[in-house]
């Protein structure tokens, strides 16, 4: 039986008021809604505040290296496609250090749900700019303001025709939880970029700032219509659309491997007859 409590109740190391708390709650709700048993769920994370999340859930977890959650998750999913694999990490982790893996995961369309706690800042290392930090944002590392333009992950993922692209907001737990359920149900790569206030280091993109801007995509938005989705994906300003922005039906990466037709890799013994045949071919 899957219950909210079954996912545990842990003390966190996050600041009071941090958006991470709500994201954790939304994820728990989503897991319960999806009726996933804890031991069938694997959460892979990197390093950062967001990346601590799996420590606060009673699930399998692989809390790996900063920026490298996606490849680890890809390997785990390929080894055992029966696992429900979620990647949870920060904007710095996924779009900064891990930018190349973000591109590759989209191209692969591996059936992994990527939850990015996007606070537009490096939280754990105390407030340097992340790839999603706004131009001109001042930090101790960027005293003259960030000189680069921000990365719009939703736009890039949609442009690259990622399997499933959504944006959520930590201030809207039910909506977010619903997005996560949908993302997990999607058979392929699913991105949920989650707007999250960092009360300690981001004094610009605050809860109120997001609250005012984050508005659900219009009811008649058709996420299977790529051109329309592109418009929504590129909307960023006074209005920041949240919801499912785009999805398609590309086959998931794992479906391409004949080895997986027979189930998880561990369950497949070495066929010594075939191996002997292979060796014979060297004679």
């Amino acid at each position: 039986m899957v219950s909210f409590e079954g996912y545990g109740n842990y003390e966190t190391a996050w600041c009071p008021g941090c958006g991470n708390h709500a994201i954790l709650e939304a994820l728990k709700k989503a897991l319960v809604t999806a009726e996933l048993l804890p031991y069938r769920v694997l959460i892979v994370s990197g390093i950062g505040q967001a990346a601590k999340s799996p420590h606060y859930l009673n699930v399998n977890f692989f809390n790996g290296l900063h920026g490298r959650a996606l490849p680890a998750a890809t390997g785990a999913k390929l080894a055992n496609p029966d696992l429900n694999v979620i990647v949870e990490s920060g904007d710095g982790c996924n779009y900064g250090e891990g930018g190349n893996h973000f591109l590759a995961a989209i191209r692969r369309n591996i059936d992994v749900t990527l939850l990015v706690h996007d606070n537009q800042v490096y939280g754990l290392t105390k407030g340097q700019a992340s790839p999603t930090t706004a131009e001109g944002f001042v930090t101790k590392a960027q005293p003259a303001g960030v000189p680069s333009i921000p990365f719009n992950p939703v736009a890039v993922a949609t442009a690259m025709q990622a399997g499933f692209v959504a944006r959520g907001f930590s201030g809207n737990v039910d909506h977010l939880s619903d997005l996560i359920v949908k993302a997990m149900a999607h058979p392929g790569f699913a991105l949920v970029d989650i707007m999250q206030p960092c009360v300690s280091f981001n004094k610009v993109n605050t809860f109120a700032w997001y609250k005012q801007r984050c508005q659900p995509v219009s009811e008649d938005h058709d996420p299977t219509d790529w051109e329309q989705a592109m418009k929504v994906a590129f909307t960023w300003g006074d209005r920041i659309p949240i919801g499912v922005i785009y999805h398609n039906q590309r086959p998931a990466f794992e479906t391409h491997f004949s080895a997986l037709k027979r189930g998880p890799l561990i369950k497949q013994p070495v066929n010594t007859t075939k191996l002997a045949g292979i060796l014979e071919s060297f004679a």
Binding site: L42, P54, N60, G64, K77, A79, P264, L265, I266
Partner: protein, 562 residues
Amino acid sequence: MPETVLNIMIGGEAGQGLVTIGQLLAKSLVRAGYFIVVTQSYQSRIRGGHNTYTIRVSPDEIQASQESVDLLVALDKQTIDLHQDEMSARGLIVVDEAFDRRGDNYVLVPYKQLSPERFANIAGLGVLSVMLGLDGPLVATAMDEFFGKKNEEMVKQNSQVLVGSRAWAEALDKSLARRLPAVTNPQKRLLMNGNEAIALGALSAGVKFLSFYPMSPATSIALTLAAKAEAMGLIVEQAEDEIAAINMALGASYAGATAMVSTSGGGFALMVEGVSLAAMTETPIVIVVAQRPGPATGLPTRTEQGDLEFVLHAGHGEFPKGIFAPGTIEQNFYLTRRAFELAEEYQGPMFVLTDQFMADSYRAVTPFEVADLPAVRPIELQILPKMNYQRYAITESGVSPRLLPGYTKHVIGADSDEHTTDGHLTEDLAVRVQMQDKRYRKLTGLSAEVTPPECRGEEHPDLLLVCWGTTRGAVHEAATRLKTEGRSVGTLHFSQVWPLVPEQFMNHLNGAKQVVAVEGNATGQFARLIRTTTGFHISRQILRYDGLPITPEYILKNLASV
């Protein structure tokens, strides 16, 4: 051993088909019962330049390459210019008559007459095979198998060229024959290079996942496995970069797939953080590093043993690991298996260190009896663990009970931070010490299972040659030659270079009058490692770092000066 050993070098530009001649000849020779050692020398380009494919062949077992050339098949003039000084006394140079070079030791082949230009290499093969006394059908079969997959027309043309060129060669003066003593009862052997043996060893160990990013001279490991992926039920994935490769493999291993990565120095540099992660999360992984000369891009297609210390100390923080350095094709196979066994047993990173010379060196090997070789102990999925299961339980051996995620009600945590016994991150500094000690205790077990060095020759020799990895063949042969000259010589070859267990070899070091290290690098890294571990200082060293493999001649020549 001049009469029974022949060194055949085929040289030309990349794209002239010299590897095809080499491969077919090698196959034929092995099927005829000969031993061979192939040395491939090529440049970092696809067409042009100067490449060689050298086959040393003998009816007796050989394991080393040779510098002097007995038969030079020059597909271009450059090859003659570059290698004529290397010819042995009875050496022959086989060239196109159109090259307009001649001399007593030249065999002038009328290529134009024997074949259309694109099949010239087959004509070369035909001539060579006759000079060596190889049976026509043997060569023809090898060729048909090789081209069989491609189009039929080509097979037909090739065979005409082969027949024609062989006929032409039969008519040559007998003094131009270089027949080897025939092997009367040829044993069945496999023709295999080092990288193929690594791939096959991995398959026999039950490898289920390989992620890689292409890099010479490691790529062929992945390509060999990719070709067998469908049949053997494994996943081979080309990653977006080497960082992804190792993290993917670790994710796969965590989730139950016996996993490996393969790369070379520069790519391994990018995996270093992942090595540390393997240690911290105690995730089994086999890492193959095929060395080439550095620093940086260096000489991407040449050989060196320059990354021993780099690999040994790779990864931030302190943790145990094991490093194999196979010296024969068989060792490539069996020690790769061993690396998988130890990786699973000790739950961490295990290395196989090879190099371009071995990677590309085809040899004749007795078939492995794979039916008798169990796959690496898989985790028992059905076992019902204790209620209070702790993934990182503190144990005397340092090894904790490993379960896989998804198969029991237990959730399995792996953390790159220092963690408690259940895998959750901790800031408890006492736990830190316990965990670090626990992880380090695995070194005791690993040390107890070390593959001992191979010692040959006298117990207290005047001269002891110490070597590791791929130089084994050259050192053994150099020693044999010295013994023939009446010298008292021993050899000590390490096929596992870490951990080192002094009890296994100190008596040899101490028992010799003079100890000389033979290594393919500029600074004597292994000798240094011996000193670090034992205090024994091998100050006399024969080193090579010009990108070419160490040969018996190189050792003998340099012994004079050490």
